[in-house]
Symmetry: D4
Amino acid sequence: MAPVDDSTLRQLLDDLVAGRTSADEVVARLSRLPFAEVDGASVDHHRALRQGMPEAVYGPGKMPEQCASIVGELLAHGTGPVLVTRVTPEQVKAVEAVAGPGLRRAGCLLYRAPGPARAGDVLVVTAGTSDSAVADECVLTLEAYGFSPRRLDDVGVAGLHRLLAHLDQVTSADAVVVIAGMEGALASVVGGLCAAPVIAVPTSTGYGASFAGATTVLAMLASCASGITVVGIDNGFGAACAVARMLR
Amino acid sequence: MAPVDDSTLRQLLDDLVAGRTSADEVVARLSRLPFAEVDGASVDHHRALRQGMPEAVYGPGKMPEQCASIVGELLAHGTGPVLVTRVTPEQVKAVEAVAGPGLRRAGCLLYRAPGPARAGDVLVVTAGTSDSAVADECVLTLEAYGFSPRRLDDVGVAGLHRLLAHLDQVTSADAVVVIAGMEGALASVVGGLCAAPVIAVPTSTGYGASFAGATTVLAMLASCASGITVVGIDNGFGAACAVARMLR
Amino acid sequence: MAPVDDSTLRQLLDDLVAGRTSADEVVARLSRLPFAEVDGASVDHHRALRQGMPEAVYGPGKMPEQCASIVGELLAHGTGPVLVTRVTPEQVKAVEAVAGPGLRRAGCLLYRAPGPARAGDVLVVTAGTSDSAVADECVLTLEAYGFSPRRLDDVGVAGLHRLLAHLDQVTSADAVVVIAGMEGALASVVGGLCAAPVIAVPTSTGYGASFAGATTVLAMLASCASGITVVGIDNGFGAACAVARMLR
Amino acid sequence: MAPVDDSTLRQLLDDLVAGRTSADEVVARLSRLPFAEVDGASVDHHRALRQGMPEAVYGPGKMPEQCASIVGELLAHGTGPVLVTRVTPEQVKAVEAVAGPGLRRAGCLLYRAPGPARAGDVLVVTAGTSDSAVADECVLTLEAYGFSPRRLDDVGVAGLHRLLAHLDQVTSADAVVVIAGMEGALASVVGGLCAAPVIAVPTSTGYGASFAGATTVLAMLASCASGITVVGIDNGFGAACAVARMLR
Amino acid sequence: MAPVDDSTLRQLLDDLVAGRTSADEVVARLSRLPFAEVDGASVDHHRALRQGMPEAVYGPGKMPEQCASIVGELLAHGTGPVLVTRVTPEQVKAVEAVAGPGLRRAGCLLYRAPGPARAGDVLVVTAGTSDSAVADECVLTLEAYGFSPRRLDDVGVAGLHRLLAHLDQVTSADAVVVIAGMEGALASVVGGLCAAPVIAVPTSTGYGASFAGATTVLAMLASCASGITVVGIDNGFGAACAVARMLR
Amino acid sequence: MAPVDDSTLRQLLDDLVAGRTSADEVVARLSRLPFAEVDGASVDHHRALRQGMPEAVYGPGKMPEQCASIVGELLAHGTGPVLVTRVTPEQVKAVEAVAGPGLRRAGCLLYRAPGPARAGDVLVVTAGTSDSAVADECVLTLEAYGFSPRRLDDVGVAGLHRLLAHLDQVTSADAVVVIAGMEGALASVVGGLCAAPVIAVPTSTGYGASFAGATTVLAMLASCASGITVVGIDNGFGAACAVARMLR
Amino acid sequence: MAPVDDSTLRQLLDDLVAGRTSADEVVARLSRLPFAEVDGASVDHHRALRQGMPEAVYGPGKMPEQCASIVGELLAHGTGPVLVTRVTPEQVKAVEAVAGPGLRRAGCLLYRAPGPARAGDVLVVTAGTSDSAVADECVLTLEAYGFSPRRLDDVGVAGLHRLLAHLDQVTSADAVVVIAGMEGALASVVGGLCAAPVIAVPTSTGYGASFAGATTVLAMLASCASGITVVGIDNGFGAACAVARMLR
Amino acid sequence: MAPVDDSTLRQLLDDLVAGRTSADEVVARLSRLPFAEVDGASVDHHRALRQGMPEAVYGPGKMPEQCASIVGELLAHGTGPVLVTRVTPEQVKAVEAVAGPGLRRAGCLLYRAPGPARAGDVLVVTAGTSDSAVADECVLTLEAYGFSPRRLDDVGVAGLHRLLAHLDQVTSADAVVVIAGMEGALASVVGGLCAAPVIAVPTSTGYGASFAGATTVLAMLASCASGITVVGIDNGFGAACAVARMLR
């Protein structure tokens, strides 16, 4: 039985009692409704319906045909944006053969991008130019959600004045995504400067002793600024989802 | 020079031009205003003013007299709640000698707790009874912020029905704090069940291969549920601060 | 809604259709049945009912009164053995005040131990005398399940003849639990000698470079013997549960 | 001297006493029987004979000619299935030049696959489509053992209803292999839902903070569900062998 | 507002009071002066001005056009050396298309290298020939700063006499950069032999158990020689910057 | 043979040729001069003579009588300060029984502290009050060297204005020691603000995910500010020695 | 069947053929001879007989009575030295109650120490006074083997002349045990100075970034000096055993 | 001054006194003799002279011309074998252009291999066929030293009888090199079976949880067999050097 809330269950049961449906039907509906099985994947329509999220497909490790089947299913049975992240050229080719040309940007493939519509002033900040790819993924995902994020690039703490020059943007945002590699200090500094939620994204682009982001993610978790939260390494998509949860 | 926003700076400069203040005065005010130096600590009034946060003092590593000086300073020059976390008996004694009896709960010492006043339905969920102490710290901090959090205890995923029985609480909350040790799977499950922000707090109480929370924190960061964010190990205070940022 | 199987759900729904129960009642029963909430814990009767397991309570991190409440609930509403593992003297005192004297052994407290009844020849092997405490916990848990395990102690691979002298016991067992610290080589050797399931339990008792079991657990996972499985460090209880799953 | 059991040894000694064999012959037989030395490898016929296992060859690191020699030896002196795992195209070419065309599937090369014959309802569950390759290796190995495993794909805990919709398959299986990357939470959830043995296989396909499976394997070992056991990262073959040990 | 020192701020304010500038102008200048925004990067003129450093661009992760834009900006608005480190052929091509031919050496691209002019006897020591590339980057950076460093190669501690033969160079230098992989013992030995600052640079070129420099960097930090300091793995550029800070 | 420089060696050899000493004598002197063997320790007079350092004894792991013997030897044959760091009460008692009362401060025992005499403006900065003990050890060691360090406490980056208010101190210092736990971001920020050498000292006092300083030390090594150098965890003594090397 | 060599087996078989023994007897002897089972331990007489080693008992984790039983068994059925390492006062008491007073030294308890008799010039070198306890255990074990080791203390590489002054001892030894914490550089230096076997023993006594010996052991394994071998952290006993293997 | 022993120094000094040499000459000779500087490398003749070792050059990280210069220098001024390990085709080409054709085997290039001449029965044992490359390097190095090692392949502990069949070889060897990946259990088993020195070589070829040899090296260091020593991962060359030190 599936994670439907009590009121939905009660409605189903009331329908059953009223003879509007049968017990077999109820069992069938509860088990079958929220997802579809295509080509070895269980496509989750439920999540998008419930959360207003775009449908998202994580590319790595999937066969091109699988990607195509999943995207086809999502486009056929939904109406919102569909996003494939970290997509390979082979996957793009297979998907576009099924679904027609999509928007290729930021290593992603996007269908049915909404115009900007969702309220909320989101600021995406990077510490260095090497963090751009992760920021691109984050921005595109935010746009798929309907946000119109602003962006502040290359303002790492080694040249603090670059950040401080844009202080008003930092303090006025409704949510700030801080994307940084190396020691990730920018997250702490931003966290101390503003009262909005700060989502820290460690990147794997550093060197010296950053160990592909392992140092960065731990440093961000150990941040001295209270109330900062952290997502996984290079996870620009996840940070955008976190923003969407916060600014519903 | 301090992180004041441009409009404040402009006001100061206008005052200067108008002869309402002197250049020396401006330099002095900018440098001195936002904090006070007492007993080897730089007490930050600024944060509380700007962010509506309670004043918080992290106990470990501070001399009892330092705690007392800092709390005294905070009570003298502010009007909101003052919270000392992970406080030792010696620190309690020193602080109370200066500030009078406070509320001792959850390993903390609290002064001027507000009545519940802040909107927002916050749910604090624990995976096991061993996670209680961290949850207690989180709940008390939330209360100091003016929230009236609800709590759902001992609903780890090994007995999934315990969580599902309270599904309506999970899906209706404005923010969910998930506190778990071991493999931290509860955060992923809750993240998949609701659309609100989920703040995952790894705890150090596990065994087997949880390595005092190191496994747990990494597992939560690698969660398969999109948009979950994570704070440091045992950091119930930090999770509460993150909630406060999100539900301003 | 809880993880009941389809036939149970269907029965409930049939009862509902037949008027033998109401929709409200069904929702209530589904949500409430499988566990009880006592003193901040959600006591899981369901697991024991479904799996024929003894009721088990992991001691560390629980308040003595919590232990007592949980054990009381388990004894009141079940009929099988109740086991508290890694129990402290304070917890023993609190539990026995509520539940009367239990069997104290192997760092545990056991109520209603069954006589040996369950089929299956289980062999518990240790590499050294330092691994005894973990083996004790495993053996007691197996006995609570109704097994009568045999035991082979101090047969680490540095003196291979000690193991080989008991080769017949190793090859004839239905399941072998191998408990070892240091490099854990005994698990690989036993795995190569027998065809039965081998559950490897790394212990934290080593020195040199075993890092409190971290090396051992990884070494066992990297074992060159096919089909060995591993549980967490010092987890004698978990190994016994794994055996119970395998020899149903 | 080899790990033969006492009764075999005794038989040999009785033959010696009865003059049916000589002391030299006994030494020779004991030393030579259970394996054959070909091309730098010691091919172990013994294991297959004793355990009813298919003969298995791990491909990586072996020269193509070595693979061919080993497979040739195994086919010449045994009658059961012969499986080469993670085989390269060069190895396939060399082996097939010696042994004729085999079955190429799941990154493996299989000779003399048995028809389904072995009792036992084995369920192979994956958390995501990225875990498919490991599941494929597991399924093929199970089939080489004579099992007819069922499969449940892409049912990770972020969309819990996908798993719960197939709850009956989970609860009725004789053994469940759970294959998951990221935080590996699916193993804990499945472990809480069924009473059969659960073998958890961490995969290296995650991102964020899964560190090529290191986080996943530790998280699975720290699982809050009792009696789960774990094999090495991506070790679908090993999980199948573990199942074969359990369902003899 | 930017990290200008008080006297600069005071001067600006005095200018304001005297009517030599306006409040809007002051805000504008403070925010805009120290850097320039080009092609997604915030080019920091400030650092070079303040610290006498060459302008440096870290190549990895930057698009070739970004490199070209940044170098162009730096050459247009400064007069000192401009250095691009760890530059790819594509980046070289793009930069030279904009800026004309530079000096290609040590994996870097350098414009406007100064003749040797800065006082200070700097010695760059390597433990093995595998450490040469890091030493080359360090030496080139030092030369861009105006130093004329000496170099001592392949004098690792396994053949101590090679170092001791050049003892006078070691003891007379004003600063010593020690570049070593493996266990990094050379840093400790040099630190014990001289009184000058010793900057240890761990390299990733070792094998055995050096884990791409992780062991080396920790070993150097744990050095038994007092007062040694360490920079990140392979960070020859950083070591040169550290020398420049020390020998101002 | 010992690390004497060539001129010393040449003098010895000249004396030998001139008949002013014998070959046996030369061998003896070269081997025996620079240190003394007392109570299982080799007391190194050489270092202090050559480097102008105070004699220093690291307390942990030494028997109280050993400490006393070493201090006695150092006081008897030298004239400069003698410092015992991280000294236990038992060690203090044993040393003072031999050497009379010393100055007890900062967990150290100091004899013959010099008056401030050495040029150089050294600033010791801490991120939080928990870093005080390490700063105390650093300051005392600097004083033993003859410096008069200034100190700036509790100016972590979460409240950036506290640091910026003292910007002139930061930019004017000849060397800055930055002592911080948690993510260590203060080192990067200070490194970006000043041109002087910055020595970063990670402390073990953090929580969340700082793992007793392991995260902090790696984060500091991965700092985005060029030319920062790092010493070991909690090594305030080592940072002071590094300053002494830099400001000779 | 046990690891006896072929000639022993052949002798047994010849005896059997000749009627000097029975098949049952042979099986019994082979299985039972090399060890004795006392109080949960399998006491290995075999090792001492075969290798000329002293009987050794590792204390930690053993119950005092177990220690006493094992030592009693060893003294009763052997004639060589018996050594209990890292023994607690409770264990000493229990053992001496059974076996009479032993020699208490270096954290060990020794019975029947041989006079010096074994050829071989063994040198035990420590880097610092903190390494003494490990050296003591090593020296006592060597003496139990019959060696008369020499010792060179506190000659770490930060004061290289201390080691070089004793260069003749280093170059003339038949085996050198190097005991060091911190970065363990002494092992590399000694390895470069002599041609004899060098056994490196990392100790857990360092600080800064030595992580209780983890850094040290990896650094020693990554040593740039060829042919050095390493034992586990603090394993002075193991190093002595390694020497005994080398100087048979 | 170099690590020459006292007698050499005394001879030089005696020559000086007798007028057979000058002080300048002594300084010059001491500094220059033991090595030669060619093409950025300090070629160490000293080691080979003193230790009877072949001259060895570690290939990785060296420019082809550097390799050629070093080998040329070694062949010109020595008479023993010269070995280049882990050599690339480019390095082979450059070296052979200078030095003529060498023996290419085991990833190495060897000049002037001696006929077998050195006493000592050395056994090189591998756990699996994947360990062959490391064993090849070890065997070739041993042959360059003049040993005639025997070899025992693919005798990992999962099929213990393969090892036991060759027990006489194991027990009679003068030194045993055990080369294994995965959990490295073979080293412990061999260590328990023989009294000779056992040098364990962890390999990086495992999978599951061996983390490129990191698990293996730690497991070998934590071995339960006393007196085993360990070298770095894949370091077949180092193991051969260790044997040469032990069997001088």
